[in-house]
């Protein structure tokens, strides 16, 4: 049985042939077979990268999700060592009942450890803890022409830095060791309130980020005129007391891709207006379970199918702090004018903890993430306009989410790309990399 694999956004639509590695010892032989048959390949985890960074140039990927074994769990000191295909959700299932949590988690628990390293993911506590790399102890890297090596800040440090955020190009990450953080409860004390404009967002962010570990904002990107920049701010901390409960894994499935996108200007306008109005106008304190707080979208399995066969593109940029306010306003104006908006519109202030990864995405400033249903208008008009604003502001786009940025923008924004290219395994290349280094 062989199922074809796709990127999360299903754009570009390029079904990948998966070649599974069931055991760590399978990685070498399976990879050699692929080199002989197709020249190059790319490691593939759980398919949560949005654009083409998880698609192999040869369309034949090394599937590492079957490497889902734990290697060692040290519950005294809160350290976990596991094979690269283990997902963050699988770690939480073991860690939470024992009073531990991930130091850094992205907005979905369905990413693999290998993917979390290769994209150097970040979360709602970036302003406090930086990226996933901060919780990394070491990992195993397998190159096509070398013996497998261990990489850490002190052992093979150059491979460590190249592989973090290295988009799976330096080699195959076979196992990862991370540090966890202690929790007293699986509940989150959260605070929510809506805001009316971008200035209010920055004021709230400055105030709340200093006092809370986690913070994020949703923004109504369709609002025009006076309402522009309105949204809802959420902050939270782990509760000091309470139960240690793992969330039930059940979620609502989307059984199939609809022929057309169910997310369109009409449904979006309806959703955005009601969602904003439902948010509390003043600070509203509530204790919630960790899963709706960190992973609201995981409640709907395969929510990407709502965007229909043509799929969607995520636009995620980070803008330097000094120009963030002006550039954000400009971005929102362009988006509102285009009328094509996004359910998920996430605003987050990034802190100044630097990641060791050469191609790590965050920088001190503000990050904005938006999902757009794919159509020709998007690629022809809106995205180039948004790219220009980001370029002018000196910001950059997130390769893990990207399916469109130009090569020159990429090389400008990530000057370390040449170092990474020099250390890339010649037997690994993605469609993304082929697109941006030319």
């Amino acid at each position: 049985m062989k199922a074809s694999l796709n990127s999360w956004g299903n754009y570009p639509h390029a079904p990948q042939n998966g070649h599974p590695c069931q055991w760590q010892a399978d990685v070498g032989p399976q990879w050699q077979r692929l080199i002989e048959a197709h020249g190059t390949t790319l490691p593939f985890g759980n398919g949560r990268s949005y654009g083409d960074s998880c698609l192999a140039g040869s369309d034949h990927v090394l599937q590492l999700r079957p490497l889902d074994r734990f290697i060692e769990a040290d519950w005294e000191n809160g350290e976990i060592c596991a094979e690269a295909g283990v997902t963050l959700g699988e770690i939480l299932q073991l860690a939470i009942p024992r009073g531990w949590f991930l130091q850094v988690t992205p907005g979905t628990r369905h990413v693999t450890l290998g993917g979390a390293v290769a994209n150097d993911v970040h979360g709602k506590n970036h302003h406090r803890c930086g990226t996933f790399a901060g919780s990394l102890v070491c990992f195993g890297l397998h190159r096509s022409v070398q013996a497998p090596m261990v990489c850490s800040p002190t052992v093979n440090p150059q491979w460590f830095a190249a592989t973090i955020g290295g988009l799976g190009l330096t080699g195959v990450i076979t196992w990862v060791r991370i540090r966890l953080r202690k929790i007293q409860s699986s509940l989150i004390d959260s605070t929510r309130m809506r805001f009316d404009c971008l200035d209010d967002f920055f004021a709230l962010s400055a105030d709340m980020d200093a006092r809370h570990e986690y913070s994020v904002a949703w923004i109504d990107c369709l609002a025009k005129g006076n309402a522009r920049g309105r949204g809802c701010f959420t902050a939270g901390d782990h509760c000091a007391t309470g139960p240690l409960e793992v969330a039930a894994p059940h979620s609502l499935p989307v059984p199939m891709r609809s022929p057309v996108s169910l997310i369109n200007p009409f449904t979006l306008k309806l959703f955005n207006r009601h969602y904003w109005q439902r948010q509390p106008p003043t600070r509203h304190y509530r204790t919630v379970a960790y899963s709706p707080f960190f992973y609201p979208l995981d409640r709907i399995e395969n929510w990407n199918r709502l965007y229909g066969r043509r799929g969607f593109q995520q636009f995620q940029c980070v803008l330097p702090a000094s120009v963030a306010a002006a550039a954000l306003a400009e971005l929102l104006r362009s988006i509102a004018r285009s009328g094509s908006g996004s359910f998920l519109a996430v605003l987050k202030r990034c802190g100044d903890i630097a990641s060791p990864g050469w191609l790590s995405f965050p920088m001190p400033g503000t990050s904005l993430a938006l999902d757009f249903p794919q159509n020709s208008e998007l690629t022809k008009r809106l995205l180039p306009r948004l790219d220009a604003i980001v370029r002018e502001a000196g910001g950059r786009l997130y390769p893990a989410k990207d399916a469109h940025m130009s090569g020159s923008d990429f090389r400008q924004a990530y000057p370390a790309w040449e170092q990474l290219e020099a250390m890339r395994d010649p037997a690994l290349i993605s469609r993304f990399w082929q697109r941006v280094i030319r």
Binding site: M1, P20, W23, A25, R69, A82, L94
Partner: protein
């Protein structure tokens, strides 16, 4: 907490069952022929919460090795609540048609070696007068289909053997469960052109097996809809069946 012996412990279905038992803080004695895979499986189950995990390397077709293995298992676990017999291989049907050697080798792998092991396990468990013998057979054993009848014949032998054993051991308080998985997404079935709708993930299969063992089911189809599918396939009359290429 249960005390469990698994033979064929690195198979995908066995691993998935063992993970569920590990979470219940069970004590596991794992038997497989590949030492490295077995060691990795042990480490995984240990981290997932198993009270204790012991690895034992043995090739199940080496019938002479069975009894020493069980002695070691009993010395470690003291008593056995569940024996899961889960090893096997999927033969290349075409190759078996042309080579008597391959056909006999595959029949030994999936059939006669299992009967040998079950004979030993049955006698030992009858002594302790309790416990469950869980055996992974297959829906393939329900009917001899041209595409896969050597494997089917071996599994039919195992299923029939288990049925008799169940009736015999019932009197001594030991339960025998025959597990008949349909298409499961495992390394064994990779490369086969299976209809995607009928393919199940090992962890879903494992949940049903572990629950079926607790409920002392006699014959367990996994997933349950395979009982219906196999009922329909069994109902096809010979004159039609021999003309089909199932």
């Amino acid at each position: 907490m249960k005390k469990i012996l698994i033979v064929g412990a690195t198979s995908a279905i066995a691993c998935a069952c063992a993970r569920l038992w590990a979470v219940e803080r069970s004590e596991l004695f794992l038997v497989a022929r590949d030492a490295q895979k077995l060691q990795q499986t042990c480490a995984d189950l240990q981290a997932r919460g198993a009270r204790a995990v012991t690895a034992y390397v043995m090739d199940a077709i080496d019938i002479a090795a069975h009894s020493l293995m069980y002695e070691q298992c009993l010395a470690t676990l003291q008593t056995v609540d569940i024996c899961l017999v889960a090893y096997g291989s999927l033969p290349d049907q075409r190759a078996c048609e042309h080579s008597v050697e391959q056909a006999m080798e595959q029949f030994t792998n999936n059939g006669s070696s299992m009967i040998a092991l079950l004979t030993l396990l049955a006698n030992r468990m009858a002594v302790q007068q309790r416990g469950t013998l869980a055996v992974i057979s297959s829906v393939a054993g329900d009917r001899g289909r041209p595409s896969n009848y050597l494997y089917g014949a071996a599994k039919a032998a195992v299923s029939t053997f288990c049925e008799g054993l169940r009736a015999r051991l019932f009197k001594s308080g030991v339960h025998v469960i025959t597990i008949k998985p349909g298409f499961v997404d495992t390394p064994m079935t990779r490369g086969l052109a299976l209809p995607a709708l009928l393919v199940t993930q090992p962890d879903a299969v494992a949940r049903r097996i572990v629950a079926g063992i607790d409920r002392q089911i006699a014959v367990l189809y996994v997933p349950g809809f395979w009982r219906v599918i196999m009922w329909m396939i069994m109902a096809i009359p010979q004159p039609l069946f021999k003309r089909l290429n199932l």
